[in-house]
Symmetry: C2
Subunit: 257 residues, 2 copies
């Protein structure tokens, strides 16, 4: 979720230029398509959320403004937690079928933001994703180190540890946020990970799919088998050196390409 400020500016200038020379590109990046006729707002937002979760919506910058309330109700009304919990149950059911070796090379990869740690408190104060992403404000929130865990993720994490998986944490957070991230994770109950991989100097400006694939690839070259991967973004799960099974946890608030 974090990008360096300079790469954000470069991206913005490039994106603006691309739109100026080709107006069609702006629609590609749009999070809004015309709602079907005879469709209520709630019904449209339901379809929009499914399209976002299944990656049909492609790159989207903000939650469509008419869906802010829908997302708020989905997050706070209990269905979000239930959806999350069912994904964790499927992941545990799968993990139990994996035959682990004795070499400690059976790995499970976790993303952090919106996967192990919840930034919902931050997004509540910023329109549930209907306001454009603000890198400065978001990082101010991150360094507080007060993000809660998700009950379902804690349940999955503990089950995987008990089964003997080697846990690899792979995040788009910056290397400079290592200590606060580790403290935050421990404070809410995560423990005993094999390593925490953050964006270093050479990873700045890379698309998340590329950066995360490269990191997984290094892990695989060390002899690990990545049996499972859990993330809230498709860019956590796709690319190369992908896991045998990937689990997409719900996140209707933002999209990282």
């Amino acid at each position: 979720m974090t990008f360096s400020r300079s790469s954000s500016i470069t991206f913005f200038i490039l994106a603006l230029f691309a739109v100026l020379i080709n107006p069609a590109i702006s629609s590609r990046a749009s999070s809004f398509i015309k709602p079907p006729r005879r469709s209520s707002i709630a019904s449209y937002c339901e379809s929009w959320r499914l399209a976002a979760e299944t990656n049909n919506a492609g790159t989207w910058k903000v939650v469509p403004s008419q869906c802010e309330n829908y997302v708020k109700n989905y997050i706070n009304g209990g269905q979000f937690d239930k959806d999350y919990d069912v994904v964790a149950s499927y992941a545990i059911a799968y993990a139990k079928t994996v035959k682990l070796g004795r070499d400690g090379k059976d790995a499970w990869v976790f993303d952090i933001d919106e996967t192990l740690l919840s930034n919902i408190e931050y997004y509540k104060a910023h329109g549930y994703g209907s306001q454009p992403y603000d890198n400065t404000l978001f990082n101010e929130w991150v360094v507080k180190g007060t993000a809660p865990g998700f009950d379902a993720s804690l349940r999955l994490y503990k089950a995987l540890k008990k089964l003997g998986f080697t846990i690899i944490l792979l995040t788009g957070r910056d290397e400079s946020q290592r200590s606060i991230t580790e403290k935050n994770l421990r404070d809410v109950g995560y423990f005993g990970w094999n390593r925490l991989l953050l964006r270093g100097k050479n990873d700045q400006g890379k698309a998340a799919t590329q950066y995360k694939s490269e990191q997984r690839s290094k892990v695989v070259k060390e002899g690990y088998k990545i049996h499972g991967n859990t993330g809230d973004q498709w860019s956590d799960l796709q690319g190369f050196a992908v896991a045998a099974r990937s689990f997409k946890v719900p996140n209707p608030m933002y999209y990282i390409p």
Copy 2:
């Protein structure tokens, strides 16, 4: 959706054997995981459907029995059609951003069953996917050639034709069903496809992902660029020679590995 009878029997025997020697495998193939505590049936089925649509549920054989009514209401109540329509709109918005060459090599791949043609009428008579798949009965339905199209798919198909895309149809249906499939497609309004690829002798028993990837690969080797792919199954969209953008249309009734 169609497998040869002999390969179905072989698969069944292998699957039974696998379950007998390793009871854990049965849970891997299960479509049912324990609903979260304090969760209503509707709420659980909502989570189940999202897990199925995002491929978190993995391989599942039947709709969980307690969700038959939920699926029935989702399909007939209008939300299914709206979800479908929004996917079509995203696909059209993307297609409009593609810069087509003049060589006719800009391709879009479509699956057929539950993508261009609807078998909902068949599934209505068979518990909306809550009854185990019956290859014989399903093929009896297919050869009637009376499957309707989906409004949203017709809209997408026509838009792509108008934009100049070369349409490739790629189905798990058997080569023996070529004529009736072509007639059925034409009857409901599809026209002008470049080719219809069906399972031939050498494709029997292959997993859908493998078979479809091989077919796409041949198309790519002919010099086509596969810009888009539309299917109701992840096995339509994943594997190798994948499209630049894939669009997963909803199908809560069955899963093809």
